[in-house]
Symmetry: C2
């Protein structure tokens, strides 16, 4: 029987796994404050930081509740001094430029999931990917290891999905239009999506305006009986659990290495049983990919890695040089998506959604190659996409009768107007993202930016360029302050310069 | 006045800076458990991890004693949400291969010292050095930044020093012989040295067998009035404090990038006012540098960086393919050093110590170039080195009359004997290091390995090859178990193979 009884406390120190022990236990095991210990319980093992508290008199090990629950609520645990795990050696070899094999990458990812590696060691793994990089085989290994260390779902029928690598504000609404357009043709598309990390709205955030997006695995199987398509949040499903931990460290380092991005996307899709996948790569100024050439390179890598994992893959390069549509932020985008499904959306949303849905319909054999977009446009125009979306909302527990104007947006509003006559020469992704987030998106669902113009539009002095929405007056002020700093929109008169200069 | 009063507790969580707050403060400031907070006090600022403890009812911020003392014992503090510091951006750019300038590297090192960067972020900086590397200018910047963020001592006269990059067991005794040989000629050599991190004995560990090695800066100035040489531990002096933090993270990653090793050595020396420095690079199988070619490369880098920082530099490549002398471990090495000073040490110790001391004497103009070693040998043979060492011991508060046999070694002892007649074909650095550490070195000063043979020696079956010493019977057993696993010594008969093979 393990040596020490466990005491549980409610202190919250986030994801840090800490065991608090009295000096007597520290001396017995040979632990120091701030060093790591192996914690053993019920035949399993994890790693935790040691805190020594001289005020504890009993010989107990104190553990925070979430950590205790995660390791299966053991009543007693053993402690042992930490040894440097083998995976650290592999990470170091990767840093020195060596290619890793499957067993080595699996060992690293398993230790990430089991809590054996600390953030320090994981940071070195992210850093190695950022600086040394991975080849196609390593990316295949990485993806596979992330799938193998998580839960996999099997739907017993062909599964289709689409995923955008993101980076362009206003993009979350595209799936809201495209997924029901695919599902309308009885092609099964169980889309898991993410919440926003650095963007103003993830597809899950926007879908949540209409319906519940948090389901367990068994509930998903029930959903699949009711509807050909759904859009849910992937976060609660324990698909590729390494990913959440790796993303947390990436966020701290502001790093997003290519190999990790690809493995992150593909591992979640494979865990969901997807066999046919469309990847959308927005290309343009201030998108994640800024040139067509780089877009093609990335498309080739995605295809090779996906095919190496047995996926049927297509990749679309789409225009991402300015926001998609006019609305940015969960509720504003939900409105615009619903308008598009009802036939009154902006052209850029309709074009992109039908192009993507069309490619999936081609993969599914519903439309011949090259004819998918036209088919998707017909489906959208006929109202079948809207009907399919109503079934999705209903299955996910929302109100299918909702109208665009029923969707509440931020109660505070401000307008930015044109300072001069001229033409819009730029609407900037990064600035729009920053302003929408400053206004409170994605946590404040009503917060965001509603554009009135796009690149190339003609404006007169005093015309509204954009509106900012927020439910908090303070945040609206913050967002307004940003406008002058980050320049979301530029306008120039037709006459740019005159020669000779006036003297 | 800062918002929150401070409560101090005695819990020990090592170097982790943690603030424990009640939910009321977390909500007020906008902090989550496990996220980082900026802690402001007396016009200064640092970063700490947030733990939220619902059992705390008062609106106080709880801080561990060491952390509280480090930040100057503030009675009240302010808390603010953490923002990602600029230095993280520089680290990420380094990961992507960009050369950093002085201001950028200084910003990183300053944030390391001020506790703004967490281990995760520091790990990425170490990883960048490991994989991308630094050029000569970056190493100069790094060294300078490490000096500028610490304390610098000024002795008001020419300062000489020597430093070995280590990696060879038995090497710690060399300085014990070489430093007094230099000091005997009234050349000022205030040697700061390290305790062992991964070796069986650092020079500070071995010197501590004779005398006190922990002094403050003011005490060092007093020492310098009494003796031309001393050997003290650099750890208490706050010289280049970034180094200790960086080494802690390197140790976790088992990484020791070249640029960080060079900056670590040179920054401590420059902080000690050294203007003339000899670097010793042991070269050989299982040393840090395994070929002469790589040794020359490293020598060139050391010289360029040192000269770029205004140092007069010499670098010696020495033989490091087996242990130096016969003794490994603090007390055993102390004995062998003293024997050498008294004229009865092994040749390899005498040769290496006089070679290094001779080079320093050449730099100081005491011996003409090329004649240093002969001069050093004369000094050693004349007993002047021993006399100088007696003065060092006395100044550092030890007993100058100590004899080699007075030095206590481990009370438990085991012998390993030759299993066959033959010649010693190898004595292996790594295996000897592991066995000595398993026996308890460096913390158990009496623990270690005493070799009876070196490479090329002839042995008969049953001859003693080595002895292991320890003050713990359990540890001695552990060390003995290792012997069969790691093979410290190999023996082969002269007749290796015969042709034709017997059938």
């Amino acid at each position: 029987m393990p040596a020490y009884s466990v005491k549980v406390i409610d202190a919250d120190i986030g994801h840090y796994r800490i065991v608090i022990v009295p000096p007597s236990i520290a001396a017995e095991v040979g632990l120091c404050g701030g060093c790591k210990a192996r914690v053993r319980f019920n035949g399993k093992e994890t790693t935790a930081l040691v805190a020594i508290d001289p005020s504890i008199k009993e010989k107990t090990v104190t553990i925070c509740r979430w950590f205790w629950e995660e390791i299966g609520k053991p009543e007693r645990v053993d402690l042992h001094p930490h040894v440097i795990p083998q995976s650290v050696r592999f990470i170091k070899e990767k840093l020195r430029g060596r290619r890793l094999g499957y067993e080595e990458i699996y060992t690293i990812i398993k230790d990430v999931v089991d809590g054996v590696l600390t953030d320090t060691e994981i940071a070195a793994f992210i850093a190695a990917q950022e600086s040394v990089g991975m080849d196609i085989n390593e990316m295949i290994h990485l993806t596979k290891a992330m799938v193998e260390t998580g839960v996999k779902i099997d739907f017993d029928r062909p599964v289709y999905d689409m995923h955008s690598i993101g980076g362009v504000p206003g993009n979350s609404k595209v799936s809201i239009v495209a997924v029901p357009t695919v599902a309308a043709m009885e092609v099964f598309i169980p889309k898991t999506s993410s919440r926003a990390i650095t963007s103003p709205a993830g597809t899950a955030d926007t879908m949540e305006v209409f319906a519940n997006v948090e389901f367990g695995l068994e509930e998903l199987k029930e959903l699949a009986k009711k509807t050909y398509g759904f859009i849910v949040w992937g976060g609660t499903l324990n698909l590729a659990p390494a990913d959440d931990i790796l993303i947390r460290v990436e966020y701290q380092l502001m790093a997003d290495p290519l190999s990790q991005m690809i493995a992150s996307i593909l591992s979640k899709k494979i865990s969901m049983g997807v066999q046919n996948l469309l990847i959308d790569i927005p290309v343009g100024r201030e998108a994640k990919v800024e040139s067509l050439e780089k877009g093609r390179e990335l498309a080739s890598i995605f295809t090779q890695v996906g095919q190496g994992l047995g996926l049927s893959m297509r990749v679309a390069l789409t225009y991402g040089g300015q926001p998609i549509g006019y609305a940015v932020g969960p509720a504003l985008e939900a409105r615009e998506a619903l308008q598009t499904l009802l036939g009154n959306g902006p052209m850029s949303v309709r074009e992109k959604a039908t192009a993507l849905a069309g490619l999936v319909l081609e993969m599914a054999g519903i439309a011949p190659r090259g004819a998918g977009k036209a088919t998707a446009k017909e489906i959208l125009a006929s109202g079948k996409s809207y009907e399919a979306f109503r079934r999705m909302i209903e299955a996910q527990g929302g109100n299918p009768d909702i109208k665009p104007e029923d969707i509440p947006v931020g109660s505070h509003r401000a307008e930015i107007t044109a300072p001069m006559d001229g033409y819009v020469t730029g609407v900037y992704n990064r600035a729009i993202t920053l302003i929408a987030r400053a206004a409170g998106a994605p946590h404040d669902k009503g917060a965001g930016v509603l554009l009135h113009v796009k690149r190339g539009h003609k404006v007169r002095k005093g015309d509204v360029l954009l509106e900012i929405y927020s439910n908090s007056e303070t945040r609206l002020d913050e967002a307004l302050k940003l406008v002058s700093k980050v320049r979301p929109i530029t306008i120039e008169g037709m006459l740019l310069e005159t020669y000779p200069e006036e003297v």
